[in-house]
C-alpha cells in the first residue's frame, strides 16, 4: 500500500476510534456517574434512569459500541482493499516507495 493510502487509512481509523470513545465516555462516566443524579428524575418502569444507566444501560451500550466498531472497520478495510487492488492493477506507484 502506498504511503498516501496508509496515511489516510490510519486517519480514518483514528476518526472512528475517537468518535466511539466519546460515546463510550458519555454513556459510562457521563450518564452513569456525572449526570446520574439528574437522570434519576426520570423513570422507566421501576428504575430511576440514572441508576439504570449505571447498573444496566452502560453495559448494553458497551456491547453495541464494540459491534459498531467491528462493522465500521470492516467497511473501511474492504474500501482500502479495493483501492489497493486498483493500485496494483495500474502498476506500482513509482514516485513513492511501496511499503505494504
Amino acid at each position: 500500500m502506498s504511503n498516501k493510502h496508509a496515511l489516510s487509512y490510519w486517519k480514518a481509523n483514528l476518526r472512528i476510534v475517537s468518535t466511539l470513545l466519546c460515546v463510550w465516555f458519555f454513556i459510562s462516566f457521563g450518564c452513569g456517574i456525572l449526570l446520574a443524579d439528574f437522570l434519576d428524575n426520570f423513570r422507566i418502569g421501576g428504575f430511576k434512569l440514572g441508576f439504570w444507566m449505571a447498573q444496566q444501560g452502560s453495559i448494553y451500550g458497551f456491547v453495541v459500541l464494540i459491534f459498531v466498531y467491528i462493522r465500521q472497520m470492516d467497511k473501511l478495510d474492504s474500501q482500502y482493499q479495493l483501492l489497493q487492488e486498483q493500485h496494483t492493477k495500474a502498476g506500482p506507484d513509482r514516485t513513492q516507495e511501496s511499503r505494504s
Binding site: I33, G45, G46, I59
Partner: protein
C-alpha cells in the same frame, strides 16, 4: 437427594469434563502451548476470554459488594466491562497484528530494550501472581463450605486439576476447558437468579425483574422502591442513589477500566485468534458473554438485599429458617443480641446493629434464602469453582510464558531448542501452581486487598505504555521506561502508604483530592503518560526499524 450429594455429583461431573478436554487437547509445540496454535475461532475465544476474566471474585463476591454499595457498586460493573471497549478499540487488533506471544514481547520489541522487556516480565508476574493466590483461596473456601472438607484438601484438589490441564495442554488445553467452564459458571449463576426473579416479581428475566413490581405475596409495589424504603428506614441510606463522592466513584471506575485493558492474562487471549478481524470480533463476543453475568449481578444484589432485610429485621431469633444457622456456623453471619430482646435488629447504626453479614453470602446462600431446590443450591458450588479455576489457569499461563519465553528464550538462554523451551514452560507452571497453592492454604492477610490493586498497577504500568507504543510513533525507550517506572512507583507508594503503613489515615480527608487507594491507578496512568511524553521530547527518536514496526501494525489487512 441432599445438597451435599448433589454438590459431589456436579463437581465430579464438571471436573471429569475438564480432564477429558485436557486429554483431547494436548499441546505439541510452543505455538500450541503459548497461543493454542493461533487458530481459535472468535466465538470460542470470546467465551474463553469471558471465563478467563470472570474470577472467583466476580462470581462469589461481586453481587454481595453491590448489594452493600447500592448505586456506587456501579464502579465494579462499569469498570470491569467498560475496559473491554478500550481493549477492543485501542489494543487487541494492533497487538494481534504485531503477532507475538506475550505482552513483555511487545514492550521489549517496541521499545528495543532488554531492560524494558525484563521490567514488563516482572510486572506481569507480580500482577498475575497476586491474582492467582486469590483464586486458589476462593476455590478452597468453596470446597470447605459446600463439602465440609478442610480448606487445605480443597486447595490441593483444585491445584491438581488446574495443574493437570494447564501443564498438558498449555493455552490449547486452557482455551477449551475455559469454554466448558464458562458454560458451567453462567448456568450456575443464571438458574438461581431466574428462579428468584420469578418468585419475587413473576418476571423470568432478572435484568427486567428488579425493575418490576413485587408479587402480592411480597407486598406489591416496585421492588427498588421497596428496597429504598427499607434501607432508609433501617438507616442504610437510599439504595438507588450514590453515597460515595462523585470524584471517587469516577476515579475508581476509570482505574478498573484501564486496569482491565492492561491485564496480561486478558491481552494474551487475543494472540490466539487467526486474524486482526477475528481479534476485534472476539472482543465483542467476550463482552456479550461477560455482560450476561454482569447485568444479572445487580439484579441478584437487589433481590437478595430485599429478601434478607424482609426475613431478618426485627424477627425472633428462634424463628430463623434453617439456612441462618447453617451459615452462622461458618461465621458468614453473626448475631449478637445487644439489647437482649431475642429479636434481630439489622440497622445501619453500628451501635445498635446486631447482625453482621459477610458479602459473599449474597451469592452463596441466596438459593437457600429463597428456599430453592437442593440441586440449585449445589449448582452454585460447581459454578464458583469453574470461575476460580478458569481464571487461575489463565494467570498461570502468563507466569509460565513470561518465564520460558521472555526470560529464558529471549533473554537468558537464547539458544535453547523449542523442546527445551516447552519444558521450561511446563516446569514454570508446575512451580507457580505449588507456590499459588501454598498461599491459597496459608493466605497472607493482604491478598484480598492486593487483588483490587493489581488493577491499579496494571493501569499505571502496562496500559499507557502499550497505547503510546501503538498511537505515538515518536515514543522512545527512555520515555516509556520512565513513564512505566514513575506510574508504577507512584501508584504502589500511595497504596502501600494508606493500606499498610498508615491505614488509620485512609479516609477521604487525607486522600489526595478525595481519591481512595482503589482509584489512584487512574492518577498513576496520567503520571505515566505525562512523564513518558515529557522525557520522550528530550531524548532521541526511536530507530528506523522500530518506526517501521509501528507503521506496519497500523496498516489494514494481516501481517506482511
Amino acid at each position: 437427594m441432599s445438597v451435599q450429594v448433589w454438590t459431589y455429583l456436579f463437581i465430579f461431573l464438571s471436573f471429569g469434563l475438564y480432564i477429558l478436554i485436557a486429554l483431547w487437547s494436548k499441546a505439541g509445540s510452543t505455538h500450541d502451548f503459548y497461543v493454542a496454535g493461533g487458530g481459535v475461532k472468535p466465538v470460542v475465544n470470546g467465551m474463553a476470554t469471558a471465563a478467563d476474566w470472570m474470577s472467583a471474585a466476580s462470581f462469589i463476591s461481586m453481587a454481595g459488594l453491590i448489594s452493600f454499595l447500592g448505586r456506587d457498586g456501579t464502579y465494579y460493573l462499569m469498570g470491569w466491562t467498560g475496559g473491554y471497549v478500550l481493549l477492543a478499540l485501542l489494543l487487541a487488533p494492533y497487538l494481534r497484528k504485531f503477532g507475538k506471544f506475550t505482552v513483555p514481547a511487545f514492550i521489549g520489541d517496541r521499545y528495543y530494550s532488554q531492560s524494558a522487556r525484563l521490567a514488563a516480565v516482572f510486572c506481569a508476574i507480580v500482577v498475575s501472581f497476586v491474582y492467582v493466590c486469590g483464586q486458589m483461596q476462593g476455590a478452597g473456601i468453596v470446597f470447605s463450605r459446600f463439602l465440609e472438607v478442610d480448606i487445605t484438601t480443597g486447595v490441593i484438589i483444585g491445584m491438581a486439576i488446574v495443574f493437570f490441564y494447564a501443564v498438558l495442554g498449555g493455552m490449547k488445553g486452557i482455551t477449551y476447558t475455559q469454554v466448558a467452564q464458562y458454560c458451567v459458571l453462567i448456568f450456575a449463576y443464571m438458574v438461581p437468579a431466574i428462579f428468584i426473579s420469578l418468585m419475587m416479581t413473576g418476571n423470568p428475566i432478572p435484568q427486567l425483574g428488579f425493575g418490576s413490581e413485587l408479587t402480592p405475596e411480597y407486598g406489591g409495589g416496585y421492588l427498588l422502591d421497596r428496597l429504598d424504603g427499607l434501607s432508609e428506614t433501617l438507616g442504610f441510606g437510599t439504595y438507588t442513589t450514590g453515597q460515595k463522592s462523585t470524584q471517587d466513584v469516577f476515579f475508581i471506575t476509570a482505574a478498573l477500566m484501564f486496569g482491565t485493558a492492561g491485564l496480561p492474562h486478558v491481552i494474551i487471549r487475543f494472540f490466539t485468534v487467526p486474524s486482526v478481524r477475528a481479534a476485534r470480533l472476539s472482543a465483542g463476543y467476550a463482552l456479550i458473554f461477560i455482560a450476561v453475568l454482569y447485568t444479572t449481578a445487580p439484579a441478584i444484589a437487589a433481590f437478595s438485599k430485599t429478601n434478607l432485610m424482609n426475613t431478618v429485621n426485627n424477627a425472633e431469633y428462634t424463628s430463623m429458617p434453617g439456612w441462618f444457622t447453617t451459615w452462622e456456623r461458618t461465621g458468614l453471619i453473626a448475631f449478637n443480641d445487644k439489647n437482649g430482646d431475642g429479636r434481630i435488629q439489622y440497622v445501619g447504626d453500628l451501635e445498635t446493629n446486631e447482625l453482621t453479614v459477610n458479602r459473599d453470602i449474597m451469592v452463596l446462600a441466596n438459593p437457600e434464602i429463597a428456599s430453592l431446590p437442593n440441586w440449585v443450591v449445589a449448582l452454585v458450588a460447581a459454578g464458583a469453582l469453574a470461575a476460580a479455576l478458569s481464571t487461575a489457569a489463565g494467570l498461570l499461563l502468563v507466569i509460565s510464558t513470561s518465564i520460558s519465553h521472555d526470560l529464558m528464550k529471549r533473554s537468558l538462554a537464547p539458544h535453547i531448542t523449542e523442546k527445551q523451551e516447552l519444558n521450561y514452560a511446563r516446569a514454570a507452571i508446575f512451580l507457580a501452581v505449588l507456590v499459588a497453592g501454598y498461599f491459597g492454604i496459608n493466605p497472607p492477610g493482604f491478598v484480598a486487598e492486593v487483588v483490587a490493586f493489581a488493577f491499579g498497577l496494571a493501569a499505571a504500568s502496562f496500559f499507557p505504555a502499550i497505547v503510546l507504543g501503538i498511537f505515538y510513533r515518536r515514543m522512545n525507550r527512555q520515555g516509556a521506561i520512565a513513564g512505566m517506572l514513575s506510574g508504577f512507583t507512584f501508584t504502589a507508594a500511595y497504596i502501600i502508604y494508606f493500606k499498610f503503613i498508615r491505614p488509620e489515615l485512609s479516609t477521604a480527608d487525607h486522600w489526595w483530592f478525595g481519591i481512595s487507594p482503589e482509584g489512584i491507578g487512574t492518577m498513576g496512568t496520567l503520571v505515566n503518560l505525562g512523564v513518558a511524553l515529557v522525557v520522550c521530547r528530550f531524548t532521541p527518536a526511536p530507530p528506523q526499524e522500530v518506526q517501521e514496526i509501528v507503521h506496519n501494525i497500523r496498516l489494514p489487512g494481516e501481517n506482511v
